[in-house]
């Protein structure tokens, strides 16, 4: 938490607990809202498609941060849970012909249940051992997705019809633009829901388990229940992201949910800042933009220099790794902490602290 400026007082608990408390915070929120409203009119569809992928990543990263950052349970099963959400919603929409909102809601519930199940090892395992157990869940889910023919259209990957809700249907010309508004709404709701949950008793019990599980049990927190709930809630968010991904990309195949995806998500959470909802958002934006900007920057170079064009993916991976190492070294608490610190710097200026 950054410092609060002097002279800010509250006369009710209600005000004190609000998410935005000062005029400056409302101003910043207003600027963000205006920015997001103007964004789709000021960039082309290529960039808008990247923004849309970022919005999906935001939901997934917020979910993962609830588990890793707030409950302290490491998970490498993110890709698997995304797959569960994507396949459930796609199948319910495509084969059971449920309306999209219902299929997505069902996908959230199904993924939460699957997440709670694969979270059961967390009752016994901690740290690295839990990482291995969740890695197993990742591999199991992807293995099933790869082998089970029910999850394919013959030999082709599962395709999902263009999204239509009631009379409304996404059109081809405005595809990215319409999706932007849908995904923006979903991401905003997810962020708000996560923030709210984390200032309520359930969220506090997650943090208690993270900081001191023995003390947590001694003051009446059911640690078993808190851990399983954390896995369920986190997977629910991830399932939501997976379901939206299925409808947005309109094809679902196991190749988009590999271990690589899990690791990128863990990187988002670490780079953004463990234990911060805003951090998860920053991390999702940052980690999604790095490869895009890198390509943007390297493609002109690659035209001139041969070895760059040959090893473009390798360079991307190397830069990716360097960014993560850099954050772990210089700001382990991530982009969120960086932002808090810069705010404090201006608030205290010209003093150091």
């Amino acid at each position: 938490m950054s410092a609060l400026s002097t002279g800010t007082y509250f006369t009710s608990y209600r005000r004190e607990w609000a998410l935005r408390r000062t005029r400056a915070e409302y101003l910043r929120l207003g600027l963000i809202v205006v920015g997001l409203a103007v964004l789709p009119y000021s960039i082309d569809f290529y960039w808008l498609s990247i923004v849309n992928m970022i919005l999906i990543a935001v939901i997934g990263a917020v979910g993962l941060n609830i588990l890793i950052g707030y409950t302290g349970q490491i998970s490498l099963g993110q890709g698997g849970f995304l797959a569960v959400g994507a396949f459930s919603s796609a199948l319910l929409y495509q084969r059971a012909e449920l309306p999209a909102p219902i299929s997505i809601a069902c996908a959230v519930v199904i993924t939460a249940a699957v997440g709670a199940f694969f979270g059961l090892p967390a009752l016994r395992l901690k740290g690295l051992y839990l990482a291995i157990a969740t890695l197993a869940s990742q591999e199991i889910i992807v293995f099933v997705a790869r082998r089970w023919e029910f999850l394919r259209d013959g030999s082709a990957p599962l395709t999902v019809d263009r999204l239509h809700i009631g009379g409304f249907e996404i059109t081809r010309e405005l595809f990215e633009w319409q999706w932007y508004w849908i995904l923006l709404g979903c991401a905003a709701l997810s962020v708000l829901a996560a923030r709210n949950l984390l200032r309520s008793p359930v969220g506090r019990s997650f943090m208690a388990v993270r900081d001191q599980d023995i003390a947590a049990s001694a003051i009446g927190v059911n640690v078993t229940r808190a851990k399983v709930t954390a896995f369920a809630v986190s997977s629910g968010f991830v399932g939501f992201a997976g379901a939206l991904l299925a409808h947005y990309t309109e094809t679902v195949t196991w190749e988009s949910f590999t271990l690589q995806v899990s690791i990128v998500y863990v990187a988002m959470v670490i780079v953004g800042g463990l234990g911060s909802v805003a951090g998860a958002v920053y991390g999702a934006i940052f980690m999604s933009l790095v490869p895009v900007l890198l390509t943007e920057f390297l493609v002109p170079v690659a035209g001139a220099v041969d070895w760059v064009s040959e090893s473009l993916p390798a360079i991307e991976n190397a830069v990716f790794g360097l960014v993560i190492i850099g954050f772990l070294l210089f700001e382990p608490r991530g982009l969120d902490r960086l932002w808090q610190r810069s705010k404090d710097y201006f608030r205290f200026w010209p003093f150091r602290y």
């Binding site: 608990y13 200032r199 309520s200 008793p201 208690a208 023995i214 927190v221």
Partner: protein
């Protein structure tokens, strides 16, 4: 007739307490003062070949400050851990008595229960090496003390407006009373990991009080404090016990504090009870003097 004796008559004393800022009861036990609250009988605890406790029996009465003393390794903390469910003794019973709103007497066997279930019965505790939630603020730590009294709903929490917020405010009022009682106002929004050691000890007491304890277990609440901090802590413990009626079980090494504060003392040595009685009886008990207090040469 002096003012104090007038005030000590029950109803008026209560009125005095009520006219202060305190609206909530801290003590959740309805057992009559002086009646047995916690009965430990024949408790034995082994870790492999080590006998941490052998056939320990004693009774804590409602309203008392009951000290457990003894040399290092005597089994004091193990005893407390058995009561709060962190250890499970191989033999013996630990019974907590309670009286329901309908004046029915109940007895709960603590040995079979999990720590969070025991906390729900109103057994609150602090730890010898502070075990606070270091990344959370003081306020959040105390709100976690209210955890067992709060409804846990994921969906209501996500919606926030309505029931979740109402509940937060309701319990915040209780927490604020504990903050007032322990004079923690200045640190409300500080992360507890960054607070001074003495303050952290106080926060731990506060977190335990937020449970509305029927029985408060304090494991060395004054360890590592200077004389002034010890006096403050002693005053808080007395306030909690005398004004708010909370039964307290206390482990402490400072004999001055123990003799002054406690109504009853149980002495452990090598996992066995070697003395049990009022402070004056204990300081005259030869076994205790030999094992722990030290003889005059």
């Amino acid at each position: 007739m002096s003012v104090t004796s007038e005030l000590s008559s029950g109803a008026e004393k209560e009125a005095l307490v009520r006219t202060r800022a305190y609206r909530f009861e801290l003590n959740s036990s309805r057992v009559a003062v002086g009646a047995p609250l916690l009965e430990v009988a024949d408790v034995s605890l082994r870790f492999g070949g080590i006998r941490a406790l052998s056939e320990v029996s004693f009774t804590v009465r409602q309203g008392d400050i009951h000290a457990v003393i003894g040399p290092n390794g005597a089994g004091k903390s193990s005893m407390l851990n058995c009561v709060s469910g962190l250890y499970r003794p191989q033999r013996g019973t630990i019974a907590l008595h309670s009286v329901t709103e309908a004046d029915e007497e109940r007895t709960h066997d603590l040995v079979a229960r999990k720590p969070h279930q025991i906390a729900r019965l109103g057994v609150a505790r602090s730890f010898q090496n502070i075990e606070l939630f270091g990344h959370l603020t003081l306020l959040e730590n105390l709100m976690l003390g209210r955890h067992s009294h709060m409804r846990q709903s994921v969906l209501a929490g996500m919606a926030w407006f309505g029931p979740a917020r109402r509940q937060e405010i309701e319990h915040r009022e209780f927490v604020e009373e504990v903050i007032d009682l322990l004079q923690l106002q200045a640190f409300r929004h500080a992360h507890v990991g960054s607070l001074a050691y003495g303050v952290q000890k106080r926060v731990e007491l506060g977190r335990a009080l937020c449970i509305e304890p029927a029985l408060l277990l304090l494991d060395e609440p004054m360890a590592g404090m200077n004389a002034e901090e010890k006096e403050d802590m002693a005053r808080f413990i007395l306030d909690v016990s005398e004004l708010r009626g909370v039964t307290t079980m206390l482990i402490e090494h400072d004999m001055g504090v123990v003799m002054d504060l406690s109504d009853r003392i149980t002495v452990l040595d090598f996992g066995k009870v070697i003395g049990d009685g009022r402070p004056d009886e204990i300081s005259a008990n030869e076994d205790v003097v030999k094992a722990y207090l030290g003889e005059e040469l």
